[in-house]
Amino acid sequence: MLHEKLTAHLLEVQKPARYTGGEIGQVVKNPEKVDVRFAFCFPDIYDIGMSHLGMKILYSLINERENYWCERVFAPWTDMEEIMRKEGILLYALESGDEIRNFDFVGFTLQYEMSYTNILNMLDLAGIPIWQKERGERIFPLVVAGGPCACNPEPLAEFFDLFILGEGEEVNLELMDLYHRMRENGATRSEFLKKAAGIEGIYVPSLYEVTYHEDGTIENIMPHDGAPEKIRKRVIPEMNQAYYPEKVVIPFIEPVHDRISVEVLRGCIRGCRFCQAGFLYRPFREKSTETICKQGIRLCENSGYDELSLSSLSTSDHSQIETILDQLLNYTEKEHIHLSLPSLRIDNFSQSVLEKITTIRKSGLTFAPEAGTQRLRDVINKNITEEEVLRTCKIAFEGGYTMVKLYFMMGLPTETDEDIIGIAELAQKIVDLFYSMPGRAKGKLQISISTATFVPKPFTPFEFEPQAEKAEILRKQQLLKNAIQSKKIKTSMHISDVSQMEAVLARGDRRLCAVLAEAWKNGCRLDSWEECFQAEKWYDAFKTCHLDPAFYANRKRSYDEIMPWQHIDYLISKSFFIRENQKAHAGQVTPSCRQKCSGCGANQCLGRACF
């Protein structure tokens, strides 16, 4: 049951249903009858976390085991945090209302760097010491994390007992089984951690020592107590056999994505050089049409949702996409369900695919050309041409679309002013195209350009690159604004201070743990929310810790520098990234994996060629 202190104040906060639990689909078990309790923590508010697919998968997976219980925990919004601190309410899990400090596992998913201070805040709200070394020898609670940002977990190394690398469907249960056995035998925390480090995909940061050169770069990363030299991520080789839930928790309040998702494929064949996800989730693996349709229909029936999303990094790259759409549309049209395809590529966006989705929903169309000129698109290996963009827009305008959203990045390697002006020119060509079409859709044309500052990420060919300085980004933003002529084109640009912090944390080392703790102590949390982000407090934290954000964000790394994530193995070889980096600077493109294998190394886990 929820705390009485809490219910007395629930009407004082926005959207109290964020904090009550009780949704349809939640799993409630008898605490007396479960052996291991797992608090799945999403380090942002409910509205964001409840849209996250990975949580839905792992929540159901753990709960399928009768004697394990996984519950959900989210970061409170500022109004609720204030009440919790004032009333002494400790962070609790939504299903049971129990304080998570008594759980066996407190597991966070690392989805984006700017959620890191939320982790510290949530641990503190839970009454759990933020520093790993202060948690003592009692085996629980084990504070663990997984998710994409675990590929460089170093800025969080001193807060966590262990990190889970790669796909969690198998390793999470292996880890819980080991814990269950060892706890029964009275093992201590450090005994457990040493043993856990032997499971493939488990990284125990306290078993590694990092030394630094005088210039601040890393000298060495050395394992001790038998920990492996390299920790390899886990992969589920066959997607049709991968666990997928049949039921999900259905939130009362509207989350950012209020729909049900079926994952259609993992990995990406494209190799865009800026895109971390495109490399982290390799190798490319599809689910069969049959699996996708079966899972999609089952989820719709069990949830009552009227929107089904086919989710992946690039859904139109599924080899059977048209068959999948045909089969699913047979069901969804009859059942009044909208089918949505969030990630389509411009180049294979065929007339028939477009027709299929327009029968269902006619809203905006979103493209991500990422760069304004062909030269720069070649550099980043975003293999789409202006011709393809215009051809697709033409199809879309004929199909009744009048809203086009275009995503770009600023500050890409080798970028010049010409490339920035190219963004405005491309948008203008789309405007001109619209008005040149006699058969264009009725309605007001609206082109929105959204630009984000490029953040170099680990495990990409751009991991060596410096991020553009703030002043340079501001200048380029102004340049772009001046270059836009048409009133039909609207722009929105990302704040660059956030991007710099993101760049720092993405490629940071262990010394940043102190900065994170300091920033959080200064009051930083919910940093991905514009109204909460406080740049000066972050810069102050760096000063206090005698570290320079520019060292992490704006410095070019040599190919032979030891990266903070050197001991983490995501299957893709460093020599591949160096090769791709060189090709980028030479303006050479790399064909998609389906056209030609570029030898990244990801297929070693499959023991065969990907295609």
């Binding site: 007395a8 629930l10 009407l11 009780g22 009362f252 009552g304 009227d306």
Partner: protein
């Protein structure tokens, strides 16, 4: 096509589900139930659902109303069972029947209102009610207006004691005139200048003319 009216409870933690969220919750419950729901005609068909009287967030109820349509007639018992299987804790369908009255016929509602405080609440309440007028602010299309709720409050029953005060109170409800029970409770808290907490508010009845229960 067949119209149905559901009378349902909204108690316990489900009182924190907002009106908009309740709409989505019911929509999905009907879809999951497998009942042959009726969809509106037209370009964007949607499931027809109607709530004749909204309930403020944080207020419990024993008598909420939802109207919906099925493509074909089904036994009321079957509908009741199928929907109850899909409803969250605290929300329970009590009856399913053919609507007998129109939504516009709703004129008032009855509430149970309980306050708690460190002090004796009865004299505070008596002071409150002895005021000649009790004005509350109300947002309308023309901006904020002042309404005297004193003549609109029909107190049917009152018990007090042990730092507790419970009232049974009837207030205008519906499309012609509506007084939000929460604003009444908050007005008392404010006028008393004392630390008074609202223990619970619960809607118990909805009336049409002549004190007939809405059905």
């Amino acid at each position: 096509m067949k119209d149905y009216r559901m009378i349902f409870t909204k108690t316990g933690m489900s009182k924190y589900i907002s009106h908009l969220d309740l709409n989505r919750c019911m929509f999905r419950a009907i879809r999951r139930s497998g009942l042959p729901a009726w969809y509106t005609e037209g370009f964007h068909p949607h499931l027809y659902l109607m709530f004749p009287l909204a309930l403020p967030l944080g207020v419990e109820s024993l008598c909420e109303i939802m109207d919906f349509r099925l493509n074909e007639e089904r036994p009321e018992k079957e509908i009741l069972e199928k929907l109850n299987a899909e409803l969250p804790e605290g929300i329970q369908a009590l009856t399913i029947h053919e609507p007998k009255m129109q939504a516009q016929e709703i004129i008032s509602a009855e509430y149970q209102l309980c306050f708690r405080s460190e002090m004796n609440l009865l004299p505070l309440w008596e002071n409150f009610m002895q005021q000649p007028e009790i004005f509350i602010e109300k947002k309308t299309k023309k901006g904020m207006i002042q309404i005297d709720i004193h003549p609109l409050m029909n107190i049917k029953h009152m018990t007090s004691g042990n730092q507790k005060l419970c009232l049974t109170l009837q207030l205008p409800a519906g499309s012609t005139q509506n007084v939000n029970i929460l604003t009444v409770a908050e007005k008392f808290q404010k006028c008393a200048f004392q630390a008074i907490s609202i223990k619970n508010i619960r809607r118990t009845k909805i009336f049409s003319e002549n004190f007939q229960e809405f059905f």
